[in-house]
Symmetry: C2
Protein backbone atom coordinates (compact mmCIF):
# COMPACT_ATOMS: atom_id res chain seq x y z
CA UNK A 1 0.00 0.00 0.00
CA UNK A 2 1.79 3.10 -1.24
CA UNK A 3 0.68 6.72 -1.09
CA UNK A 4 1.57 8.94 -4.00
CA UNK A 5 3.03 12.42 -3.49
CA UNK A 6 0.53 15.11 -2.68
CA UNK A 7 0.77 18.47 -0.88
CA UNK A 8 0.58 18.69 2.90
CA UNK A 9 -2.69 20.02 4.22
CA UNK A 10 -1.26 23.44 5.00
CA UNK A 11 0.29 23.70 1.54
CA UNK A 12 -2.98 23.37 -0.34
CA UNK A 13 -3.48 26.56 -2.33
CA UNK A 14 -6.90 28.03 -2.96
CA UNK A 15 -6.31 29.02 -6.56
CA UNK A 16 -4.96 25.58 -7.37
CA UNK A 17 -7.98 23.90 -5.84
CA UNK A 18 -10.28 26.19 -7.79
CA UNK A 19 -8.37 25.49 -10.97
CA UNK A 20 -8.58 21.77 -10.35
CA UNK A 21 -12.34 21.99 -9.86
CA UNK A 22 -12.86 24.28 -12.83
CA UNK A 23 -12.81 21.51 -15.40
CA UNK A 24 -16.03 19.61 -16.18
CA UNK A 25 -14.34 16.22 -16.28
CA UNK A 26 -12.50 16.76 -13.02
CA UNK A 27 -15.58 18.18 -11.35
CA UNK A 28 -17.51 15.09 -12.35
CA UNK A 29 -14.80 12.90 -10.87
CA UNK A 30 -14.98 14.88 -7.63
CA UNK A 31 -18.77 14.59 -7.53
CA UNK A 32 -18.49 10.85 -7.97
CA UNK A 33 -15.95 10.53 -5.21
CA UNK A 34 -18.11 12.67 -2.94
CA UNK A 35 -21.14 10.51 -3.67
CA UNK A 36 -19.66 7.07 -3.76
CA UNK A 37 -16.54 7.42 -1.66
CA UNK A 38 -13.21 5.82 -2.36
CA UNK A 39 -12.99 4.04 -5.69
CA UNK A 40 -10.52 2.76 -8.25
CA UNK A 41 -9.30 4.92 -11.10
CA UNK A 42 -11.13 2.74 -13.57
CA UNK A 43 -14.41 3.15 -11.69
CA UNK A 44 -13.90 6.88 -11.31
CA UNK A 45 -13.15 7.29 -14.99
CA UNK A 46 -15.91 5.09 -16.32
CA UNK A 47 -18.37 6.67 -18.77
CA UNK A 48 -16.52 9.95 -18.54
CA UNK A 49 -16.06 10.17 -22.29
CA UNK A 50 -12.32 10.59 -22.19
CA UNK A 51 -9.41 8.27 -22.86
CA UNK A 52 -7.96 6.53 -19.84
CA UNK A 53 -4.72 8.45 -20.21
CA UNK A 54 -6.68 11.68 -20.11
CA UNK A 55 -8.41 10.53 -16.96
CA UNK A 56 -5.04 9.68 -15.48
CA UNK A 57 -3.86 13.18 -16.29
CA UNK A 58 -6.86 14.57 -14.41
CA UNK A 59 -6.15 12.37 -11.38
CA UNK A 60 -2.71 13.84 -11.20
CA UNK A 61 -4.07 17.38 -11.51
CA UNK A 62 -6.49 16.71 -8.67
CA UNK A 63 -3.85 15.05 -6.54
CA UNK A 64 -1.27 17.80 -7.04
CA UNK A 65 -3.85 20.41 -6.15
CA UNK A 66 -4.60 18.54 -2.93
CA UNK A 67 -8.15 17.59 -3.82
CA UNK A 68 -7.72 13.83 -3.87
CA UNK A 69 -5.32 11.28 -2.51
CA UNK A 70 -4.49 7.97 -4.09
CA UNK A 71 -3.19 4.81 -2.62
CA UNK A 72 -1.94 1.81 -4.48
CA UNK A 73 -3.16 -1.58 -3.37
CA UNK A 74 -1.77 -4.35 -5.41
CA UNK A 75 -2.86 -3.89 -8.96
CA UNK A 76 -5.51 -1.33 -8.12
CA UNK A 77 -5.18 2.31 -7.23
CA UNK A 78 -7.84 3.80 -5.03
CA UNK A 79 -8.55 7.50 -5.07
CA UNK A 80 -10.59 9.46 -2.57
CA UNK A 81 -11.47 13.02 -1.69
CA UNK A 82 -9.40 14.83 0.92
CA UNK A 83 -12.56 16.04 2.57
CA UNK A 84 -11.12 16.56 6.01
CA UNK A 85 -8.10 18.48 4.82
CA UNK A 86 -10.12 20.61 2.43
CA UNK A 87 -12.80 21.35 5.02
CA UNK A 88 -10.16 22.27 7.57
CA UNK A 89 -8.29 24.54 5.24
CA UNK A 90 -11.19 26.07 3.31
CA UNK A 91 -14.35 25.56 5.36
CA UNK A 92 -17.49 25.20 3.32
CA UNK A 93 -15.76 25.43 -0.02
CA UNK A 94 -16.09 21.84 -1.12
CA UNK A 95 -19.64 21.58 0.16
CA UNK A 96 -20.76 24.65 -1.71
CA UNK A 97 -19.10 23.47 -4.90
CA UNK A 98 -20.72 20.07 -4.58
CA UNK A 99 -24.17 21.47 -3.90
CA UNK A 100 -23.65 23.99 -6.71
CA UNK A 101 -22.80 21.15 -9.06
CA UNK A 102 -26.30 19.80 -8.54
CA UNK A 103 -27.91 23.06 -9.60
CA UNK A 104 -29.50 22.26 -12.93
CA UNK A 105 -31.53 25.37 -13.76
Amino acid sequence: MRLLPHPAKEDIQLTEVLRALADPVRLEIVVRLATLGEMTCTAAGDHLGVHKSTASHHYRALREAGVIVSKQEGRLKYISLRRGDLDARFPGLLDSVLSASHATT
Copy 2:
Protein backbone atom coordinates in the same frame (compact mmCIF):
# COMPACT_ATOMS: atom_id res chain seq x y z
CA MET B 1 -25.12 54.76 -18.06
CA ARG B 2 -24.62 51.61 -20.14
CA LEU B 3 -24.43 48.00 -19.00
CA LEU B 4 -22.07 45.73 -20.82
CA PRO B 5 -23.10 42.23 -21.96
CA HIS B 6 -22.99 39.59 -19.31
CA PRO B 7 -24.79 36.24 -18.82
CA ALA B 8 -28.26 36.08 -17.31
CA LYS B 9 -28.35 34.80 -13.76
CA GLU B 10 -29.65 31.38 -14.77
CA ASP B 11 -26.96 31.03 -17.42
CA ILE B 12 -24.04 31.38 -15.02
CA GLN B 13 -22.04 28.16 -15.20
CA LEU B 14 -20.25 26.72 -12.20
CA THR B 15 -17.10 25.66 -13.99
CA GLU B 16 -16.79 29.07 -15.62
CA VAL B 17 -17.13 30.82 -12.29
CA LEU B 18 -14.52 28.52 -10.78
CA ARG B 19 -12.21 29.15 -13.69
CA ALA B 20 -12.67 32.87 -13.34
CA LEU B 21 -11.81 32.71 -9.65
CA ALA B 22 -8.87 30.36 -10.17
CA ASP B 23 -6.45 33.09 -11.17
CA PRO B 24 -4.56 35.01 -8.47
CA VAL B 25 -5.01 38.37 -10.13
CA ARG B 26 -8.72 37.88 -10.70
CA LEU B 27 -9.22 36.52 -7.21
CA GLU B 28 -7.57 39.62 -5.80
CA ILE B 29 -9.88 41.80 -7.86
CA VAL B 30 -12.87 39.88 -6.53
CA VAL B 31 -11.65 40.20 -2.95
CA ARG B 32 -11.28 43.94 -3.42
CA LEU B 33 -14.75 44.27 -4.84
CA ALA B 34 -16.15 42.22 -1.99
CA THR B 35 -14.37 44.37 0.56
CA LEU B 36 -14.75 47.82 -0.92
CA GLY B 37 -17.81 47.46 -3.10
CA GLU B 38 -18.31 49.01 -6.48
CA MET B 39 -15.27 50.74 -7.88
CA THR B 40 -13.72 51.94 -11.11
CA CYS B 41 -11.49 49.73 -13.21
CA THR B 42 -8.51 51.89 -12.39
CA ALA B 43 -9.12 51.53 -8.66
CA ALA B 44 -9.71 47.81 -8.95
CA GLY B 45 -6.53 47.31 -10.94
CA ASP B 46 -4.29 49.54 -8.83
CA HIS B 47 -1.16 47.94 -7.36
CA LEU B 48 -2.04 44.65 -8.97
CA GLY B 49 1.29 44.34 -10.71
CA VAL B 50 -0.11 43.91 -14.18
CA HIS B 51 -0.50 46.20 -17.14
CA LYS B 52 -3.83 47.98 -17.45
CA SER B 53 -4.66 46.04 -20.60
CA THR B 54 -4.07 42.81 -18.71
CA ALA B 55 -6.40 44.00 -15.98
CA SER B 56 -8.96 44.84 -18.64
CA HIS B 57 -8.66 41.31 -19.96
CA HIS B 58 -9.39 39.99 -16.47
CA TYR B 59 -12.44 42.22 -16.12
CA ARG B 60 -13.83 40.73 -19.26
CA ALA B 61 -13.13 37.19 -18.06
CA LEU B 62 -14.92 37.93 -14.79
CA ARG B 63 -17.82 39.60 -16.54
CA GLU B 64 -18.29 36.82 -19.09
CA ALA B 65 -18.26 34.24 -16.31
CA GLY B 66 -20.99 36.18 -14.52
CA VAL B 67 -18.89 37.16 -11.52
CA ILE B 68 -18.95 40.92 -12.00
CA VAL B 69 -21.05 43.45 -13.82
CA SER B 70 -19.79 46.73 -15.23
CA LYS B 71 -21.61 49.90 -15.98
CA GLN B 72 -20.25 52.86 -17.83
CA GLU B 73 -20.84 56.29 -16.36
CA GLY B 74 -19.38 59.00 -18.44
CA ARG B 75 -15.66 58.48 -18.63
CA LEU B 76 -15.56 55.97 -15.82
CA LYS B 77 -16.54 52.34 -15.78
CA TYR B 78 -17.69 50.92 -12.50
CA ILE B 79 -17.45 47.23 -11.78
CA SER B 80 -19.10 45.35 -8.95
CA LEU B 81 -19.65 41.81 -7.75
CA ARG B 82 -22.86 40.01 -8.73
CA ARG B 83 -23.31 38.87 -5.16
CA GLY B 84 -27.04 38.40 -5.30
CA ASP B 85 -27.01 36.42 -8.51
CA LEU B 86 -24.09 34.26 -7.41
CA ASP B 87 -25.57 33.61 -3.99
CA ALA B 88 -28.91 32.71 -5.52
CA ARG B 89 -27.41 30.37 -8.07
CA PHE B 90 -24.60 28.83 -6.01
CA PRO B 91 -25.41 29.40 -2.33
CA GLY B 92 -22.37 29.78 -0.12
CA LEU B 93 -19.86 29.46 -2.92
CA LEU B 94 -18.67 33.05 -3.06
CA ASP B 95 -18.61 33.38 0.70
CA SER B 96 -16.51 30.27 1.15
CA VAL B 97 -14.09 31.38 -1.55
CA LEU B 98 -13.78 34.82 0.01
CA SER B 99 -13.22 33.47 3.49
CA ALA B 100 -10.81 30.90 2.08
CA SER B 101 -8.87 33.68 0.40
CA HIS B 102 -8.08 35.08 3.84
CA ALA B 103 -6.59 31.81 5.05
CA THR B 104 -2.89 32.54 5.34
CA THR B 105 -1.47 29.47 7.01
